[in-house]
């Protein structure tokens, strides 16, 4: 990242999320500058997905605030956050099963559009996203007939169709073969730009190391390390959290 610090795109302040007596996130604060490739790691159950559910709006948080481009979005419904530029993929893919791949994207293009665009133009955008994702030949195939890696790509494509400024990828590589992991990783790398900030949740360490400008490690709902990938990997608490003591 450049030396002068730009205003953060996303600012999370003292975020806490409880499920009954269980504290899933405990006083988490982090700032993500625009254009950063941000890796989020942590053992199973450490609160990674909970954190992005709080960012994308699937969960309400109490207490704590989420600021996106200097706007407090803590109380906004998920679809309004999507329209402001926060998009996500799901750990377990959630396609619209009754639709084709093209229609899946059209939902996002129809509903998340910031301004009014003609149908023809939306179709063009849809095809160009599918081409970029390598799914052009699958446009008219039912979402139920996709392979696992294609489903992951379609989830990312659908997220891209909302014109995000922040793209959150929740374990988009889980369960894929190593060549497929590289394929999806290259895709994510190609999507990242100054205009699109990416938060990537991943268990595959090589992928996280290669992808991230900065990595944050959660354990039991708390941040135990944050810094460059090599710093975080060298951190003793991170190693303990992953290997157990």
């Amino acid at each position: 990242m450049s030396s002068e610090t730009p205003a953060p795109l996303l600012r999370i302040a003292s975020l806490t999320k409880r499920f009954g007596g269980f504290i899933a996130l405990d006083n988490v604060s982090v700032e993500i500058p625009p254009g950063e490739r941000f890796g989020l790691i942590g053992p199973n159950g450490s609160g990674k997905t909970t954190l992005i559910n709080c960012i994308s709006g699937a969960f309400r948080t109490e207490p704590g605030t989420v600021l996106f481009r200097d706007e407090d979005i803590t109380a906004l419904q998920p679809h309004l956050r999507t329209r402001r530029g926060i998009a996500r993929s799901f750990q377990i893919p959630r396609p619209f099963r009754s639709m084709t791949v093209a229609e899946n994207l059209m939902v996002a293009l129809d509903f998340a559009a910031h301004e009014h665009v003609s149908v023809a133009k939306r179709r063009d955008t849809m095809m160009s996203i599918l081409t970029q994702m390598g799914l052009a030949s699958k446009a008219n195939v039912s979402a139920t007939q996709l392979s696992q890696v294609e489903l992951r790509k379609m989830e990312l494509a659908r997220a891209m169709a909302t014109h995000p400024k922040l793209l959150i990828s929740d374990e988009a590589m889980a369960g894929l073969s190593s060549s497929e992991v590289d394929e999806v990783l290259d895709l994510l790398m190609s999507l990242a730009s100054h205009d699109i900030t990416i938060i990537m949740i991943e268990h595959i360490m090589q992928a996280v190391m290669r992808f991230s400008d900065r990595v944050m490690c959660l354990d039991a709902g708390r941040i135990i390390a944050i810094g460059t990938p090599s710093e975080v990997m060298a951190n003793q608490r991170v190693q303990e959290a992953y290997l157990g003591t």
């Binding site: 679809h79 999507t82 329209r83 799901f90 959630r94 396609p95 619209f96 059209m106 939902v107 509903f111």
Partner: protein, 320 residues
């Protein structure tokens, strides 16, 4: 798209013309009595499937909406002697409000919980009407038909035509919804509500809209029923059979396309009328149940789904 639209409206106009012609040439009154009931069920099934089919929220409260439609007419006739169009429009407005209230209270619940809440609604409203003396209470109330307007020979023929107009209206609305952004949003949230939200679909607002439109139509369809029967009592107006029949017709026809509920309602409605005349009105319910079970097991997507599957198989066969 445009050509489809023209074909649809020509079809609708022909249908209405045929209904009108029928009132001129057929002198036997029975076809109108039976036809009215079939048309009523077509309109109910189409209206139901806007929420139950497109959005996938199974509403067991059809009888609540239908009964409120009946009783809003009863009240308007008794209090003001209101004419039929006023009865229908008022019922639609009340139904829209009821849909809105039901939606606000229950649409945050998903699946079976929503359905149970809609059954509770039926029971609550029926109980309230049963205890409302002004509209006859539990004993029911007789209603005098006003003289028929010049265009028709008798009142039942007019009601038959009015119900045909309601069918066209319901189908036009349902078709519009399916082809518009509302339909795509509902289809998305039916598939996966969270994914829809995260793609920018305002799920709660769309569900409320579906609930309001569906509710308004269900109530409007119920409104002329008071005049049709010249009598209303809570037990028949809020009869759970309306809920079950409507649901069965929509599901058997298939809810993936606006024409599904029409096919289902014609098929089941006609069968019911035939059975009522030839055997007994009780056998109706039995046949309905058996058919529903057969379809849920054999063709869960209804007749529309069955037709689509046959076409797809034939196309694939041709390609290979």
């Amino acid at each position: 798209m445009k050509r489809n639209g023209i074909a649809f409206w020509i079809g609708a106009a022909l249908f209405l013309a045929a209904a009108l012609l029928m009132t001129k040439v057929v002198s036997n009154q029975y076809p109108f009595f039976a036809g009215y009931v079939i048309l009523q069920f077509i309109a109910l099934a189409v209206a139901w499937s806007i929420l139950g089919g497109y959005a996938g929220y199974v509403n067991f409260g059809t009888s609540a909406f239908f009964g409120v439609g009946v009783y809003s007419s009863v009240f308007l006739v008794k209090a003001f002697g209101a004419p039929l169009p006023v009865q229908i429009l008022t019922a639609a407005a009340i139904g829209a409000l009821m849909g809105f209230a039901l939606g606000l209270l229950t649409l945050r619940m998903q699946g079976i919980f929503f359905s149970i809440a809609t059954i509770a609604l039926t029971i609550i409203i029926e109980t309230a009407v049963t205890n409302w003396r002004y509209v006859g209470g539990a004993a029911g109330i007789q209603i005098q038909r006003p003289p028929v307007s010049a265009l028709f020979d008798n009142y039942v023929q007019m009601l038959f035509f009015v119900q045909a107009v309601l069918v066209v209206l319901a189908v036009a609305i349902s078709r519009y919804i399916q082809n518009s952004w509302i339909g795509r949003g509902l289809q998305a949230l039916k598939d996966d509500e969270l994914a829809a939200e995260c793609s920018g679909v305002p799920t709660l607002r769309l569900k409320l809209l579906a609930c309001v439109i569906s509710g308004a139509l269900l109530c409007a369809v119920g409104a002329p029923s008071a005049m049709y029967l010249q009598f209303a009592n809570p037990e028949s107006a809020f009869n759970l059979n309306y809920s079950v029949s409507t649901l069965a017709m929509s599901l058997i026809g298939g809810t993936a396309h606006w024409s599904g509920p029409i096919i289902g309602a014609i098929l089941l409605g006609t069968t019911q009328q035939l059975l009522t005349v030839t055997i007994s009105s009780e056998v109706n319910v039995l046949v309905l149940g058996v058919m529903l079970v057969l379809f849920v097991v054999g063709a869960p997507e209804g007749i529309i789904g069955l037709i689509r599957r046959i076409f797809r198989n034939r196309n694939e066969g041709r390609e290979s």
